[in-house]
């Protein structure tokens, strides 16, 4: 299978690559729009700030090519937030392929960022949530999140529920890091790789 990891220049590219290699896939890391378009599956990783990541995608002229992809695309962490319309982090327009908005996580009195292993709760039947038999813990590190809405596939809570997984058409997002979420994360990545083109 031909999997391309989009090189956003600010991401944990190596850990995503190694996670795929542990699943027997040799991915290509690329910021070339023609190469990305050819892939069977595209992964958009991300750490850092939404503003910096969108600036990098614009400089690489990847905004439109990414919006036009038709194969399954998975955004991870910040990469998931980039799939939405806007992010409150830096108040920046994002790719807009999933009609949701990223807001600051309301942690109440809990430590922020939300860091560590938290439980996922599937809220919709979907090829990406079929492995989520309770209890499924995944590793989160973030202080912004997509509120629960029409495109939510699974939630987690800190203390308020937020979207742990989202999806619309051929675009999917995971707020946690499946590449660092032990056996559960490996199953979720494998489920994504097994998805049929929409």
């Amino acid at each position: 299978m031909d999997v391309v990891i989009v090189n956003t220049d600010c991401a944990n590219l190596a850990s995503v690559k190694y996670a795929l290699e542990r699943l027997g896939i040799t991915p290509t890391i690329s910021d070339d729009s023609a190469r990305i378009k050819q892939a069977d599956k595209v992964i958009l990783p991300g750490v850092g700030s939404a503003r910096a990541a969108m600036r990098n995608l614009q400089q690489k002229q990847l905004v439109e090519p990414l919006q036009q992809l038709t194969q399954p695309v998975l955004g991870i962490c910040l990469g998931m937030q980039l799939l939405g319309l806007r992010s409150a982090e830096g108040d920046v327009d994002c790719l807009g392929v999933i009609p949701c908005i990223t807001e600051r996580l309301a942690c109440a009195n809990l430590p922020s960022p939300h860091m560590g292993w938290n439980q996922l709760l599937a809220t919709r039947e979907h090829p990406l949530t079929k492995s989520l038999t309770a209890p499924s813990y995944c590793y989160f590190v973030h202080s912004y999140a997509v509120p629960v809405g029409d495109y939510t596939l699974a939630t987690s809570s800190y203390p308020q529920p937020f979207s742990a997984m989202i999806g619309a058409n051929n675009f999917y997002g995971m707020q946690f890091h499946p590449e660092r979420s032990s056996a559960v994360g490996e199953r979720l990545l494998a489920d994504f790789l097994a998805m049929e083109a929409a």
Partner: protein, 257 residues
């Protein structure tokens, strides 16, 4: 619910994992990747690797093993030791480290915390703090260069003030190492950790003093820390990570299985 993290700490010296008592008399306890795999298999939630000599003798961490760990393990890990520049941090993160932890260099150049946060984001910047109870002054004081006993020295920072300073500069997590407890396995410094917890708005990890699974249970129950670091009890195979989590669960502390 967010699980409380159990974090084996691997002190690295010259490419091997070592363990000292109050930072001295280091003994070899095994290979880096071999121990990382063992703890992953036992259910460790995260790993921390400290190159304990790096800051003190002016080197940066020997990095070749970071990539091997990143390839092998499917849980997050932090690398610490002598990270003084954005370029050094960038290299470690590019090799697959999830977080970088700075300690002595932050004390020498506090602005480094801001620079790292601006460049890589708050989520991957950890500040490690070595805190010692000074009985004469009757206060907790931050120490620097603790990797080398010849250069170890007290700073002018009171621990609570330094925590406030680095959180204000954007640190995403604090590892508080209570030096009086380190390696002596008599339990964590409950009083200090409970006090700092009140003042720390970011995740707080307890370090120094774990001698039994029960010590780890107590630090979660009494201090509400987010994670507990321990070394000797795991390296000496006194108990496994799974046994610690079993004890935590018995006391209704949320754990990940």
């Amino acid at each position: 619910m967010l699980a409380k993290r159990v974090i084996p700490c691997l002190d690295v010296r010259a490419g091997r994992v070592v363990k000292g008592v109050q930072f001295r008399d280091h003994q070899d306890v095994g290979g880096i990747v071999e121990l990382a795999q063992r703890y992953r298999d036992q259910g460790a939630d995260e790993l921390v690797f400290y190159d304990i000599t790096a800051s003190a003798d002016g080197r940066v961490v020997d990095k070749s093993w970071v990539e091997r760990v990143a390839r092998e393990i499917n849980i997050p890990f932090t690398v610490a030791g002598g990270i003084r520049s954005l370029a050094q941090a960038q290299q470690l993160l590019a090799m697959g480290a999830d977080k970088i932890s700075i300690n002595s260099p932050a004390l020498s150049n506090p602005e480094l915390v801001n620079q790292l946060v601006d460049e890589f984001g708050q989520q991957c910047v950890v500040v490690g703090i070595d805190s010692y109870y000074d009985a004469e002054q009757q206060r907790y004081v931050v120490y620097q260069f603790t990797g080398d006993e010849k250069r170890t020295q007290a700073t002018t920072w009171a621990t609570a003030d330094w925590v406030a300073e680095v959180v204000d500069r954007g640190a995403g997590e604090i590892v508080l190492n209570c030096m009086n407890q380190d390696g002596v396995r008599r339990g964590y410094d409950i009083q200090q950790l409970a006090d700092i917890r009140q003042r720390c708005a970011v995740p707080l990890i307890a370090s120094g003093g774990a001698g039994s699974a029960n010590d780890i249970v107590e630090v979660f129950k009494q201090c509400n820390v987010d994670g507990a670091l321990a070394a000797s009890i795991f390296h000496r195979q006194q108990c496994t990570v799974a046994e610690v989590k079993q004890a935590m669960q018995t006391h209704s502390i949320p754990v990940r299985w």
